[in-house]
Subunit: 135 residues, 2 copies
DNA sequence: CGTTTTTGCATAGCTTGCTATCTATATACA
DNA sequence: TGTATATAGATAGCAAGCTATGCAAAAACG
């Protein structure tokens, strides 16, 4: 069921963001860099809770589409700092709005109390699974 | 968060099923055919709530791995009936056990009442999203 | 009965996720 | 200081999703 819900979320978001040339997997990058910050690939992967190669692929596509720039990190020759391009910065608000509006639809049938419960229980499930996968 | 939870579920299941040569995306097929039934690809896709081409690809991999057989449907020249092979039937119990055990871990921190609530709220979220995506 | 529409599957092409492994640079320590 | 270890990214290869499209068989209908 979580898989089903996640796919529906992604489809709903992709549908809204398609006209801006943005897709659901790029949302965490927009959220992390939307204030103009520049972060390493590793930091972005940690924020999005995905593995490094997955983030590398997402950033490649975003670079291909002119959404991000990679600059060498002056303090670490292995690392690069990733930042949104000016064009992407302009889209950041739309991305945030798409996320909020899909969330609103998804939670439309829940009371305020139920929404809090849902998020809390989902958080507990995630914590339990993470703990199990740790080793 | 649903995306995160879904990925954790899949990873946990994949880890347990790897030794049997089975993966998480194949679970719905095992559940649908585990009693010896033979269903069409379309029916399987509907049960798994995935699109037909996705199910086609999953079935291709399962056929490659000797988990299913495809027989022509005597009543419809376009259709094929899919059934588990005897080897896969032997694995069906392990697949069910893996699913139940991961669910148990995921819900370990929830009371019985909370589990019911969680499933109910997740169901409402899915229903709302599905309704929105209908058109 | 023939034509049109519907339906079941296949295929192409893409994104997003994973694991495993490699390279090159930083860091630690003997 | 020089070697060993740790870390940041890159790359390969796979699974599982999706949309769009094409084809052939079935069903509907004039």
């Amino acid at each position: 069921m979580t898989n089903w819900a996640a796919r529906l979320f992604a489809r709903a978001i992709d549908r809204r963001l398609k006209e801006f040339g943005v897709s659901s997997g790029q949302m965490p990058v927009f959220f992390a860099l939307g204030d103009g910050a520049a972060l390493s690939q590793k930091a972005l992967a940690a924020i999005a809770s995905i593995e490094q190669p997955t983030m590398a692929a997402t950033l490649s596509r975003m670079q291909r589409d002119g959404l991000i720039e990679r600059r060498p990190d002056p303090r670490d020759g292995r690392s690069q700092l990733v930042a949104l391009t000016p064009e992407a910065m302009e889209k950041a608000l739309k991305v945030k709005e798409a996320g909020m509006s899909v969330n609103a639809v998804a939670l439309a049938d829940l009371t305020e109390t139920e929404r809090e419960q849902f998020l809390e229980l989902l958080g507990k499930v995630i914590t339990s699974l993470e703990k199990m996968l740790e080793d």
